[in-house]
C-alpha cells in the first residue's frame, strides 16, 4: 500500500513539475516566435503549414487531439458539445484560454480576465 502511495506521489509531483516547466517555457517560446528566433513562417492561416499550426503544433507541441475530435468534421477545432447547463456554449476553447487569457503567457491576449 505504502509503495503504491509513494509511486502515486512521485507521479503526481513529476506531472506537476512537467506542467510547471511547460508553463515556464511558453512565454519564452512566445517571445522567440514574436522576435523571429523560432521560424513559424509568414503566411497567416489555419491550414497545415501556415502560421497557426506551425505555432501551436510545431513550436508549442500541442497534440492534434487537443483541438480536434472526430464527429465534427464540417467545423474547425470543435472539441465537444456542452454537456450540461453550466457548460453551455457550442464549443470548448478551454485549451486556448489557458494561454490566451489576459494574464496568460501568450502574446495575443484573446480573452479577458476570468469573471467569477
Amino acid at each position: 500500500m505504502r509503495i503504491k502511495i509513494a509511486i502515486a506521489v512521485v507521479l503526481v509531483t513529476g506531472l506537476l513539475l512537467l506542467g510547471y516547466a511547460f508553463a515556464l517555457n511558453i512565454p519564452q517560446t512566445a517571445k522567440s516566435i514574436k522576435t523571429g528566433k523560432i521560424n513559424v513562417g509568414k503566411t497567416t492561416g489555419m491550414e497545415l503549414g501556415k502560421r497557426f499550426h506551425n505555432i501551436h503544433n510545431q513550436a508549442l507541441g500541442l497534440e492534434c487531439s487537443s483541438c480536434h475530435i472526430s464527429g465534427f468534421a464540417p467545423d474547425y477545432a470543435y472539441q465537444k458539445k456542452y454537456k450540461d447547463i453550466s457548460g453551455m456554449g457550442h464549443v470548448d476553447r478551454g485549451i486556448c484560454l489557458g494561454c490566451h487569457k489576459e494574464n496568460g503567457p501568450a502574446i495575443t491576449k484573446l480573452y479577458g480576465t476570468i469573471e467569477k
Binding site: T44, G45, M46, F52, P74, D75, Y76, A77, Y78, K81, Y82, K83, D84, I85, M88, G89, H90, V91, D92, R93, C96, L97, H100, K101, E102, T108, K109, L110, Y111, G112, T113, I114, E115
Partner: protein
C-alpha cells in the same frame, strides 16, 4: 445605446422560426447558420426534459474574434455590434478558432442555394444594390450582425430600435413563444435590462472574459 438580446430558454421550444427568419433575412450561405439552436436533455428517466439554447453572435464587449483577426477586419461599432468587414476579410479563419461560442462560419466556394447550382434572384443583383452587410462572397467568414441594416435604418429614421418588426433583428419578433428580446442594455428601463435584472439572466462561457451582450434566462 448599446444593443443586446435576452433569450428565455424556459420559453424556447425549439421551433427554429428564428433560424429560418435569419436565413432568409441575411441570405446566409447554405450549410452556415448565423442563428442555430442547440439541444440537450437533462434529468434521469422518467424525469427528463429537453432544453433548447438558441445561439447567435454574442456581440461580446471584449470580442476575441476581433483580437484574433490578422487582417483587422472585425470591428465593434459605437452601439456594441460586432461586424466583419467583407472587403478586408481574407478568410484566415482565426476568428472561428478564437470564438468560444462557435458562431462564426466560413463561406465555402461553390455552394449554391438551389440544387442545380442556379443563383437566387438576390444573388443576381449588382453589388451596389445590396447593403454592405449583405455583400458576402465565398472565401470569407460570416456571422450575425444583429441585423444592423435594420437597426441602422431605424436610428436614421428616428425610430426606437426594437420597437416593432422592422426595427428589430429578424429573429426577434418571429418567435412564437416570445422567448427573444432585443433592446438597449444601457437603458435601465428597457425590457432587456429589466429582464436581466429580474430573471437573473446569465452570459454564456463567462469564464472567457468576453462579456457577451446576449443574455440567457435559464
Amino acid at each position: 445605446m448599446k444593443f443586446g438580446m435576452v433569450i428565455d430558454t424556459k420559453r424556447c421550444f425549439g421551433c427554429r422560426a428564428c433560424v429560418a427568419a435569419c436565413k432568409t433575412e441575411n441570405i446566409v450561405q447554405p450549410g452556415n447558420h448565423w442563428n442555430f439552436v442547440l439541444e440537450h436533455e437533462q434529468g434521469k428517466y422518467p424525469n427528463v426534459s429537453r432544453i433548447f439554447t438558441p445561439m447567435n453572435c454574442m456581440h461580446c464587449e471584449n470580442p476575441p474574434c476581433m483580437k484574433a483577426c490578422p487582417e483587422k477586419a472585425i470591428s465593434k461599432n459605437e452601439h456594441g455590434v460586432v461586424m466583419i468587414d467583407y472587403d478586408k476579410c481574407k478568410g484566415r479563419k482565426y476568428c472561428i478558432a478564437a470564438c468560444p461560442y462557435g458562431v462564426i462560419h466560413f463561406i465555402d466556394r461553390g455552394k449554391a442555394f438551389y440544387p442545380d447550382g442556379q443563383k437566387i434572384p438576390y444573388e443576381t443583383l449588382p453589388i451596389e444594390a445590396k447593403h454592405p452587410l449583405h455583400r458576402k462572397k465565398p472565401g470569407i467568414t460570416e456571422k450575425c450582425t444583429l441585423c444592423w441594416h435594420r437597426i441602422e435604418k431605424a436610428i436614421k429614421e428616428g425610430k426606437k430600435p426594437g420597437s416593432d418588426y422592422d426595427t428589430s433583428p429578424a429573429c426577434i419578433k418571429v418567435c412564437p413563444a416570445n422567448a427573444r428580446y432585443f433592446g438597449d442594455l444601457d437603458d435601465p428601463d428597457n425590457e432587456v435590462s429589466r429582464l436581466i435584472a429580474k430573471k437573473r439572466a446569465i452570459q454564456l462561457n463567462k469564464e472567457y472574459g468576453t462579456r457577451p451582450q446576449v443574455f440567457y434566462i435559464v
